[in-house]
Symmetry: C2
């Protein structure tokens, strides 16, 4: 498989872990050190212990909707790669930055940042002035 | 200067261009190729022409508030580096991911992703049931 295919497979593994609520799979997606995450609306979380604790909370939340990925764009950067994709969560769309590092065990996630895309509203009719 | 110092200087140059509304300086901050941006609430923009056009719109907007950076965390990754920081814009706080590449001309921005941090609300009093 090409680097691009392997990076896309690592990206898919992240979202598969989310959809299955599979915490051990989520642990395996992430690199061992120097990892960071910015969840939608959250501030930065640093370090494997705190990053994985945040995923434990999210995956344990019975109201968490599945997170699906689409429109993946891959940028290869030597030993690093970023995937920029659309996440669909409960009818909403988010833009995601996923940064991967090629380790001895394969491509591992080192940074994730996701944020809601504000959808354009349909063109509004001007409010009629009553006076 | 260390790599860390140079990366922080490149990050500072990005925000300085914003505060001054300095479009040529903003052009100089970005790498020549394979650049991408996710502005707050926006979908992904790819390629130097479209990325810079988005900054032209933002910098030309007379209502654009200055964007200030604080709490920079630097992660060096060989020829790449990411800076994770807080942006303060008009009283609101955003979390930013800034990805840099070491080029022959120095560290240049290749990806920017910023998203609002939802501040925790003060603890609410439960609404009293009237029936």
């Amino acid at each position: 498989m090409s680097d691009r295919d392997n990076v896309l497979a690592a990206n898919a593994a992240y979202y598969a872990a989310f959809v299955r609520g599979d915490y051990p799979a989520m642990e395996a997606v992430w690199a061992d050190a120097d990892i960071t995450v910015i969840h939608p609306g959250w501030a930065l979380i640093e370090g494997r212990a705190d990053v994985l604790r945040s995923y434990r909370l999210i995956l344990d939340n019975p109201d968490q909707e599945p997170v699906l990925s689409s429109r993946e764009k891959v940028y290869l950067m030597g030993e690093y790669a970023r995937v920029l994709c659309i996440e669909t969560v409960g009818g909403g769309a988010l833009a995601a930055t996923n940064l991967f590092h090629r380790t001895l065990e394969g491509w591992r996630l080192i940074h994730h940042h996701a944020s809601p895309i504000v959808q354009p509203l349909p063109r509004a009719q001007p409010t009629r002035q009553l006076n």
